[in-house]
């Protein structure tokens, strides 16, 4: 019964998406207001049916209705309720259903927010969104049907994948990731609409940028949450392994970051319109490529779903999207004529171009490395690997160069700078740069790249903080405002700019933390019997014993380790080995003692509670905690940059155009 209801809802979603897509394109072409209205209504209908089908699945999961195919596949009566709820995205079919929900939410929200604006563009944009929605509904209706009916249902099911049950981050990471991926559909639709209409003015670049920024924030968080999950669960002490699926999430992030920056040039100078649209479209195509990589079984990854039948279907969609986008770009790109000029020389304009070049190069390199084993397999029939050593070697120089541009770019004025300006802009930040370099050296960093990162990081820090707070100082001088009033005023007027620099500050911290944590790790492997101690750095660990923890859905053997640092008691850590019914081999769960400076990371290799022995990997990871904090700063900065869309939006959106009009007329 429930299964039939679910299938019906999915068919209705498919129907409204396909119809809405068609209506959207026709209405866009015919400039029909009625058609546009119906495209909107069908977009809301699509979102509603997706919501209802997801609620139906949650109901089936929570009532343990094993006659529903997906519930029989991942449900279990013995797992905690939160695991049952997040089981929705723990396996292939359910994750696509959830994908549909996220898509419905994004499409409905974007349709609502643009309801009275851009009448020329929106029907096309809705047409594109719903075409993508129709594809995912089709996946759910056929190749990845979650609502299959099981004729003779079992009394209980196996429960979701053990690795996913093992940590609460698995409840948070996928929604962020899907929002990041699916949300890119919205700017993609807007970019296609701009091409189809043949115009990208200052009025339209703003929504394009903001709708790109929202999924970008989600994707930023998702990438780092994925790394955090790996760090807290996989037990090897790292957060990033350049695994194909990790790369798959990084690729659209890089392209989107490039697009967010080139959009600034579109807005300020009226140049790079075609390039920006291309980057936005590439971002979306990379999310589809990522979906294929995660779900086709062609790539070897710890994060991927097992071999599935939907690979070919996604590949057909990817191929169609690639071919249509290429056709659209080559036919319509010339319509987006530039309205201004870039300034050459050592200027901020140039730095924007260099930044874009570096990000695109980064994207290309990661993409090349990720698919290269497939190239060799196809060309020579040889199975080879491209792994972390390659990516590290390539990404470190690019990352350091990006940090350099992030510091120098904002320090330079728009347009050509005089020698004098250059000196004033570039010399003072060298102070902080030198301080950070010396500080790193004094604290024991010896890796050349790390020291270079610290140097550029210090430079960037001074420039970024200066740019963040300079308008406040200027306001205080110019308007005689107090500090708080000046902050509030410059905040509400320049929040996008301020937010962007907050993001820069966070990004700078992430890069520094990665550089420091990856080159200054201390490690030791020990085998301890009860009562024995081991020490690493300033820490001393005493193995107090092992015990067994039995829960309904799993059983763990955990080691108790009393931690001392420099003679001071820090408490007890419990790294463990967990046995799940659904899995033969145990899963090690590390224990982490975090502080601002460094993490003490304990991972169990082997443990015997009867004999009272434990084999441990002890790591001291400096600055890892800063990555999570700095990412939160980045996300916060992104949110601040979104703020003005709420209240002063119309005035702000029209202002540059007004300036141009007034200036042009004088």
């Amino acid at each position: 019964m429930i299964a039939t209801l679910g299938r019906t809802l999915i068919l209705l979603a498919l129907l409204s998406a396909s119809a809405g897509s068609l209506v959207g394109f026709v209405a866009g072409r015919a400039r029909s207001a009625v058609g546009s209205l119906w495209a909107r209504r069908l977009a809301y209908a699509f979102a509603a049916f997706m919501l209802l089908s997801n609620l139906t699945m949650e109901y089936a999961l929570l009532t343990h209705d094993f006659s529903v195919g997906y519930v029989a596949h991942v449900g279990s009566r013995s797992v905690p309720t939160w695991v049952t709820i997040v089981s929705l995205w723990s396996s292939l079919e359910g994750s696509i259903l959830f994908w549909g929900l996220v898509m419905g939410a994004f499409v409905a929200a974007a349709t609502w927010l643009t309801r009275n604006r851009f009448p020329e563009y929106m029907p096309y944009a809705i047409g594109v969104w719903l075409a993508c929605g129709a594809f995912f509904s089709f996946l759910l209706a056929g190749p990845a049907q979650p609502f299959a009916t099981i004729a003779s249902p079992a009394a209980d099911g196996p429960g979701p994948n053990a690795l996913l049950q093992n940590h609460y981050l698995m409840a948070i990471h996928p929604p962020f990731l899907y929002s990041g991926y699916v949300g890119m559909t919205i700017p993609f639709g807007l970019a296609c609409a701009a091409l189809l209409v043949g115009r990208l003015g200052n009025d339209f670049i703003r929504p394009l940028r903001n709708f790109l920024l929202v999924p970008w924030i989600f994707l930023t968080c998702a990438i780092v949450l994925g790394g955090w999950w790996a760090y807290e669960v996989l037990g090897w002490g790292g957060y990033w392994a350049w695994d194909p699926v990790e790369n798959a999430s990084f690729l659209p992030w890089l392209a989107a970051t490039a697009a967010l920056h080139s959009a600034i040039l579109v807005e300020r100078k009226g140049v790079l319109k075609g390039w920006t649209v291309t980057l936005v479209i590439a971002t979306y195509l990379l999310t589809i490529l990522g979906t294929f990589m995660t779900r086709s079984g062609v790539f070897n990854s710890v994060h991927s779903f097992t071999q599935s039948a939907i690979g070919p279907t996604i590949l057909i969609f990817l191929a169609a999207a690639l071919v249509l986008s290429t056709a659209l770009l080559s036919l319509r790109l010339d319509a987006l004529a530039r309205e201004g000029e870039l300034e050459g020389g050592l200027s901020r304009d140039t730095m924007f171009l260099v930044q874009n070049l570096l990000l695109v190069l980064f994207t290309f390199t990661v993409l090349l490395g990720t698919v290269f084993p497939l190239v060799v397999e196809a060309a020579q029939g040889v199975q080879m690997s491209v792994g972390r050593p390659y990516f590290d070697r390539m990404s470190v120089p690019i990352g350091v160069a990006l940090l350099f541009v992030m510091g120098v770019g904002p320090a330079l004025p728009w347009g050509r700078a005089t020698r004098d300006q250059l000196g004033r802009a570039l010399l003072p930040p060298l102070g902080t740069a030198a301080v950070l370099l010396l500080l790193g050296f004094a604290l024991g960093a010896r890796n050349g790249w790390t020291l270079l990162t610290l140097f550029f990081g210090g430079f960037t820090a001074q420039v970024t903080l200066g740019e963040m707070f300079r308008p406040i100082g200027q306001r205080m001088r110019a308007h005689g405002e107090g500090l708080i009033e000046a902050f509030r005023q410059s905040q509400s007027r320049g929040s996008r700019r301020f937010g962007a620099y907050v993001v820069h500050a966070g990004a700078m911290m992430v890069i520094i933390s990665i550089a420091v944590s990856s080159t200054n790790q201390q490690s030791k492997e020990v085998q301890l019997t009860r009562g024995e101690s081991a020490s690493l750095g300033a820490y001393t660990l005493t193995f107090a014993g092992a015990d067994r923890v039995v829960e309904p859905h799993r059983e763990s053997v955990r080691a108790r380790l009393d931690i001392q640092r420099g003679g001071r008691e820090l408490g007890t850590l419990y790294p463990r080995m967990t046995y799940y019914e659904s899995q033969r081999e145990p899963i090690g769960t590390p224990a982490v003692q975090s502080s601002l400076g460094e993490d003490l990371y304990l991972s169990v290799h082997n443990i015997d509670d009867q004999a009272g022995t434990v084999g441990l990997l002890i790591l001291i990871n400096p600055m890892v905690g800063w990555i999570w904090i700095a990412t939160a700063v980045m996300a916060l900065g992104g949110l601040v940059a979104l703020l003005p869309i709420r209240r002063p939006a119309p005035a702000v959106a029209r202002a540059p155009a007004a300036v141009a009009a007034i200036e042009g007329g004088s």
């Binding site: 189809l196 209409v197 790539f299 071999q307 659209l328 770009l329 698919v371 497939l374 081999e585």
Partner: protein
């Protein structure tokens, strides 16, 4: 996606060429690799000399060396008591060891404890010896990815076949026959 008829559509050849340069190879590679299982890696050892070993049997006794097993075809099966598929193929292997007197069988324990393996062997009564591989050196030399994996070595010490996953009687018979034929 259709193109607005407002302006005559002219193809920007540069854009088309640049995009095709990325799109066409990418699609070609993905299509060519579709359906391939990245988890099955072909062994470079097939057709080569089998790596030597000298290991003690489970429960103790004189070391068994590869050299001492030469002259007759040899089946080397990597297994462990914690591995369910190994358990499943054990019947086929035992039957095979009895059915092909001209072929030697040997098991190699993969990442498992001696006591547990001995217990298992006693219960099941396997007709051929299993050897302990304490630091996994033999498994590494044979390029083992997981268990069960089975190598078929001819009388001259050359690896003829490698089978990944549990064996059934038919496959075992087929691979043993190929090993026997290759010896001639």
């Amino acid at each position: 996606m259709e193109v607005s008829a407002a302006r005559p559509a002219r193809v920007n050849v540069k854009v088309l060429a640049a995009a095709s340069l990325v799109v066409v190879p990418l699609l070609a590679i993905l299509v060519l690799n579709l359906g391939r299982d990245p988890r099955s890696v072909r062994s470079p050892l097939v057709g080569r000399e089998a790596p030597g070993f000298a290991l003690s049997p489970v429960g103790g006794g004189a070391q068994v060396a590869l050299d001492s097993l030469r002259g007759k075809p040899l089946v080397v099966n990597f297994w462990a008591t914690w591995c369910v598929p190994c358990f499943e193929e054990q019947a086929a292997l035992s039957a095979g060891a009895r059915a092909f007197p001209g072929v030697k069988f040997v098991g190699v324990i993969y990442e498992d404890e001696e006591a547990r393996s001995a217990q298992f062997l006693k219960e099941r009564g396997e007709p051929y010896p299993s050897l302990m591989d304490p630091e996994g050196k033999t498994a590494i030399a044979y390029g083992v990815f997981g268990v069960p994996e089975t190598f078929f070595i001819d009388g001259g010490g050359r690896i003829v076949e490698k089978h990944v996953g549990p064996l059934d009687s038919e496959t075992l018979a087929l691979l043993v026959r190929r090993t026997l034929e290759s010896a001639r």
